[in-house]
Structures are given as structure tokens and as C-alpha cells.
Subunit: 143 residues, 4 copies
């Protein structure tokens, strides 16, 4: 199975990404993009996309960017991530881009971004993520 | 309006917390707990609660813990947060606890935890969060 | 060799801790404290202890707290850490405390704090750290 | 006083940067580089540059990158930062580059990198930082 097929098969099992309405829109070696249309049930108290939603799509994009470079029989788990919220997340859709910064045998470091896209296509950088993903092979989390 | 009433009023506007099914179960000065029952549409590819969901409830709990100590006319925004995923998030429900570590005029530092609760009531510590909240008064994010 | 002896032997090789003047003042299973006397050449531009110094002693305390629980032939490396600076670091000495939050076979999660100690013994909490340490056995960093 | 002059004047007061031997090698709007020659008293137990040293120069580079865009009468303080250690820090010198990712009135978000430079000039990416700096005007830290 190709790396892209493995990423797509795993993503299809993420029920939470379906609940959000996120879609895989780019898969390459070390690179995955997700796109999420705005929906009124994804907001925080001021009407912006909830930070937990933008963090979730950035984390998933990074996890799959890492998985795309892992061996065929490996699975990926998030060890940790850190996000900065840069601007109110307001737009008709949101694009999360996960990129591998440093690939290791056990630990892969990723950078992720989320941009809000306005009706006219203009992008605003709303979130920056730096995180660590782990290669697991038939074992529990972070062991 | 009391701090608790302000927290409850703001939480009621977080459509995303409703979508998840999270409820406010403890509000005190500098302390907020949220409880989230397990649901099959909140999982990642291995059937555990998605890291984005546990991060989202921990971030919300921390934001409201910070808000509970802010002036009446203030709003709260997340500046940044960092999470470590400590164990697979598997349980019948999840409890996110947000606590204020250091209260400042502009910036409040919080610690958050998420525990998975098994059917027999046993708790497993699954996430640890350290983050920064900002007091905003009629202004945009992080300005 | 006992865990304490291994920690002390490794610490003695950290030339940078000697340059700072930091000393090991507590070693137990999953717990290490370092104490650093104030010195005028450790400050930033406002005369407070440089954030890099307080982060360095917190990271070292956490690394050794993790090492204290590892197998005899293991070494420890920092994968990542995050610090919040809570108050100006001003005092006659500084105490960094590293504690293991979650011990794993490969990855150990730690919490660290730094307190500034005034001439009268009063402590101010100046830094909070959350980080990830890795067990390495004859291999390179984060592999 | 120009932004560059303010950065240079403040850096000259950082006694800890002198102790390390770090020098300002690039100052522009939103961009600051520091260079640190290797010295045997800056290492951890395996002979690599101590993570606390590489974090310290990355934090300083980011703080000054933020200061370079602040008003004339402002000072800068680190609110928080997160670093990933990507590879053993081994080289004849180290270059920390701080760049402003998002400039705000109160809060500025920065990205920093540290590269190890070998005798032949080859660079290895050893540290990645994401952090938050605060503009302070005659007030205490993080208030």
C-alpha cells in the first residue's frame, strides 16, 4: 500500500474528523493538508472557530504528514504539541498544513499551520503548531 | 453577575462544546472542570478519544478558569497552549480540569489535565496542558 | 551503581552546569532538585536571571529526574520542553525542581519549576516547565 | 535611536550572553541572528552543546527580533517558549536565528532556529523554537 493510501485509510477511520467535516486535500511525502468548511457548530463564545478545532486539524495534518514517511506496518501517535493562536479564526473555510521538520526512527518533529480563507480567497494565518509524533509498531502510546 | 454566572453564560455560547457534549461540572475562583461522556464519533483511528478533543476540553477548562478571576467586563482568549498526551484516552467519560497557576493583569498562566474515567470510576491521567490566556476588553485577539 | 550515583556521575560531566554554578541538592526516584546561587553574570538586560538560565536548570533537573527511573545502562536526552516565565527571576538563589509526571519505556514526561529565593527565604515561583525526555541506549538523539 | 541601536544597546546589557560568548551578527526589522562559538564549558554530559544554551540563544534572538519592531520606549520580556531538540548540537559554532511570525500590540509570536556549523561550513538544524514575547512599558513581567 502506498504512503498516500495508508494515510487515506487511516484518516477514514478518524470519526472525529468526519464529525468536524474535515477533508484530506493534499498528501505527499512528509506533507498533508486538511480543509475544513466553516460551520456554526464549531465556534467558541465569540463566533470564531474554536481553538480546539483548529488545533485538532493541525495535529491531524501533522500526524499524517509524519505517517506518510513511516514504514508500512507503523502507526502514528501524537506525543505532544504546542499551538499559538495568531488571529481570530474567521473564514468560510480553514486549511491545516502539516509538514515534517525532522524525521527520526522513533520520533518525528512536525510544524503545522492553519489559515482561515475568506470568501474572496484571502488567507489569514491563524494558528502555528510545533509538535512531536511517535512511530508505534503494535505497542501502546509513548512506550 | 457573579464569576460563576459569567463563566456559565460564556460556556453556553460555545457551540463547539455542545457539539462535543461537554458540560461544566465545577466552577470556582481559578478552577473549572468540564465532563465529556464518551461518544463513538469523537475518536481517532485507533478508537481512542482524539487528541484534538481532549486538548479542546482542557483548553476550554483553562480559559474559563482564567475568566473566573477576570474583571466583570473582560473576555478571555487563548494565546497559546502545549499538551502532552500521556496515555491512550479510553473511558466512559473524560474530565478536564483547568487551574490558574499565575494570574496577571493581561496574561494568566494555567495548567490543565484530562483524566479518562473507566466504568468502575478509576481515573487515568491522559493529558497535561500548560497554557497562556489573555484578558481582552473590547479588543481583538492577542493585541 | 545506584540511581543516585548515576545521576551524580552524569551531572558531574555537565560542564555547563559547573559554569553556571548549579549544584544537585536532592535526588530521589523521579525527583531531582538543583540549586543555583545568584551571580551578576547570569542576568538579562533588566538584571533578572536570564530566562535561558532558569530554563536550563529546569531542563537539567527534569532530565535527571527522568534518568533516575531509567535502566542502569540508559542515557537521557531532552526531546522538547516548554516554559512559561511567571515572574521576574530575582533572588539570592534559585531552586529548580524536576519531577516525573509519566514514566514510559521510551518517553518520559516531566514537570519542572524554578523558584527564586529571597534573602529572608521567601520563595517566588518564576518558571514552569513541561517537557519530554527520551531513554537512549547507545543510540543518537531522538532516534 | 534606531531599532538596531536599541537592540544592540539592550544586548550589551545581557551579561549572560557575554558569559556564553554570543555575538549579535544580524539585526533587521523582525530578524535577529546570534552566533556562539563552541566552548568546552558549554556542554552537557555527552559533550554536545547543552540544550539550555541552545534554548537561551534562540530565546534571546527571538526576544530581540520582537524588540526590533516595538516602539522606542518599549522593553521586551519572554512570556513563554517551546523548543524541540532535533539533533545533537555538535559544531565549531552555532547560529541562532529569531524571526517574528506575528506582531501584535502586546504580544508578538516568534519562531527561532539554531543550526550547528561544522568546520567545513555545513549546517545542521539542531533546535526549533516557538515562543511568545511581550511588549512592556515601564511595567512588570507579564502584566
Amino acid at each position: 500500500m502506498s504512503a498516500e493510501a495508508r494515510v487515506r485509510a487511516s484518516f477514514a477511520k478518524q470519526a472525529f474528523m468526519r464529525l468536524l467535516g474535515a477533508e484530506l486535500t493534499h498528501v505527499a511525502g512528509g506533507e498533508v493538508d486538511l480543509t475544513l468548511p466553516f460551520r456554526a457548530d464549531l465556534v467558541q463564545q465569540h463566533g470564531f472557530l474554536h481553538a480546539g478545532v483548529s488545533a485538532a486539524i493541525a495535529d491531524s495534518a501533522c500526524g499524517y504528514a509524519a505517517l506518510s514517511l513511516m514504514p508500512d506496518d507503523a502507526a502514528v501517535l501524537s506525543v505532544e504539541f504546542k499551538v499559538n493562536l495568531l488571529a481570530p479564526a474567521e473564514g468560510v473555510r480553514f486549511v491545516a498544513r502539516g509538514r515534517v521538520l525532522r524525521r527520526g526512527r522513533t520520533v518525528t518533529v512536525c510544524r503545522g499551520t492553519v489559515h482561515a480563507v475568506a470568501a474572496d480567497g484571502a488567507e489569514t494565518h491563524v494558528l502555528e503548531l510545533q509538535g512531536t509524533m511517535m512511530t508505534v509498531q503494535g505497542r501502546g502510546l509513548a512506550d
